[in-house]
C-alpha cells in the first residue's frame, strides 16, 4: 500500500482518502460514489480547497459531509482545509457511479431508473422500479417523497417489502 501511495500526487492521495467519507444518511455510499465531491486543489502554500455540490438544495447532510472531509484531512496532517459548496452545474443522479448503484441495491435501496419520457414533463409516465429484496418489478409508488430528500417510498406487491427508491433527478 505504502509503495502505491508514494507514487500518487497529493491531490490523488486526497481523492483516495475521501473515499472513506460517506453520506451520513446513506452510509453505504462514499461521497465519490454519490458524485458529490467535485474538485480537490492543493495551493502552493499547502492549503487544501475541496469543492462539493449538494444533491438537493436543502440537503441537511452537506454540513456533516463538509465537517467529515475536514476531519479526515486534518487527521492526515493537512493543516488548512477549506470546503466550498458549488451549485452549478446542478447535481444529477447521472453522477452516481455504477458501483454506487450496486451498493445501494445491496443495501436495500432501489437505485435510480431512467424514466420513460421527459422527467420534467408535468405528468410523466411512471418508471418501473425493481424491488431490491426479491427483484420483482411488480412494485407500487407509495409516495414521491420519502425519508430523505433524495428518496421516494415504494412497496413490492410480491414480497410486500416496503423500500426506499433513490429517485431520478435530472
Amino acid at each position: 500500500m505504502a509503495l502505491v501511495t508514494q507514487n500518487l500526487t497529493t491531490e490523488e492521495r486526497i481523492w483516495k482518502l475521501l473515499e472513506e467519507v460517506s453520506d451520513p444518511e446513506i452510509p453505504v455510499l462514499s461521497i465519490l460514489d454519490l458524485g458529490v465531491l467535485k474538485k480537490v486543489q492543493v495551493q502552493e502554500d499547502g492549503k487544501v480547497q475541496v469543492t462539493i455540490t449538494p444533491t438537493y438544495s436543502g440537503c441537511p447532510a452537506m454540513n456533516t459531509i463538509a465537517a467529515d472531509i475536514r476531519m479526515r484531512l486534518l487527521a492526515e496532517g493537512f493543516k488548512e482545509v477549506a470546503v466550498n459548496l458549488q451549485l452549478s452545474p446542478a447535481w444529477t443522479t447521472d453522477w452516481l457511479t455504477s458501483e454506487g448503484k450496486d451498493k445501494l441495491e445491496a443495501y436495500g435501496i432501489a437505485p435510480p431508473v431512467e424514466p420513460n419520457g421527459d422527467i420534467h414533463a408535468l405528468f410523466g409516465r411512471d418508471t418501473v422500479v425493481r424491488c431490491p429484496l426479491c427483484k420483482s418489478e411488480n412494485t407500487r409508488l407509495v409516495s414521491q417523497f420519502g425519508s430523505t430528500s433524495c428518496k421516494a417510498h415504494y412497496q413490492c406487491q410480491d414480497c410486500l417489502e416496503p423500500f426506499d427508491y433513490f429517485k431520478c433527478l435530472k
Partner: protein, 267 residues
Amino acid sequence: MDLHHKPTVDLQGYSPELRALLFDYTLQLADTSLILGHRLSEWCGHGPILEQDLAMANIALDLIGESRSYYQYAAELEGQGRTEDDLAYLRDAVEYKNPLLVEQTNGDFGDTVMRQFLFDGFHYFLLKELQNSPDKGLAGIAAKSFKEASYHVKWSAEWIIRLGDGTEESRRRIQKALDNLWIFSGELYTMTDTEKALAQAGFIPDYSGLLSQWEAHVAKIFAEATLEVPQNVFMQKGGKTGRHSEHLGYLLAELQYLQRAYPGLEW
C-alpha cells in the same frame, strides 16, 4: 460549520443600477421560498398521514434550501456586508417581498394543497425560463431548483384531482379553498417595477408568457378535478411591494425569534 455557496459570478460588469435591481428581485424570490417553506414546515408532525407529513416536510426543505441560495447570492449582489442571516432574520414584515399567497395560513390540508398548487405551477414555469438568464447566479440556482420543483408540481396537482374528484366532503372543501385563495393568484403575475425593468433588460422572462402556460396547466387540472374557478373576482396584491396581510407578522415573530433573542447566532 461555515459552508457557503460561492457563486462564480463576475459582478464587475454590472452597473450599480443593475445590481440593485437583481438584489431586489433575488430577495423577492428568497422571501417567497422561505415563507412558503416555513408555512409547510408548520405541518411537520401534524400531517393527515405519515406519507404526506413527509412530503410536505420534504417540499419545505427544498424551498428553504432554495431560499438560502438566493439569500447568499443577494448578500453578494448587495455587497454591503449583510449576510444571509441578516437578510432572512433581521428584516421586518414591511421589508419582505413575498406575494400574499405564500403567507396565507395553512388552514386544513385542502387549503394547504390549493395554496401549493397555485404556487407550484408559477414556480415551475418561472424556474424553467430563469435557467436561461444571462445572470449566472440566478440561472444556477434556478437550474438546481427546477429539478426539485418538477416533483412538487406533480404532487400538488395529483392532490387537487384526488380531493376535487373525490368524496362530496373533499370536493366541497377543496372548492372552498379555491374560492378563498384564487384572489391571491393574480399577484404572482403582476409585475413590479423591478420585474418589468429586469424583463426589459432580458434578465428574467416576461410574465405574460408564464401566465398563459400556467393558465393552461391549472385549467386542465381543475377540469379533471371538477372544480370551478371563481369568476369576476378582485385580485389582491401588495406583498411584493411590502404591503402584507397580518399573517406575515406572526409568522416572522416565530421564524426570527432565535436571531432576535440571540443576535449574531449563525446557521
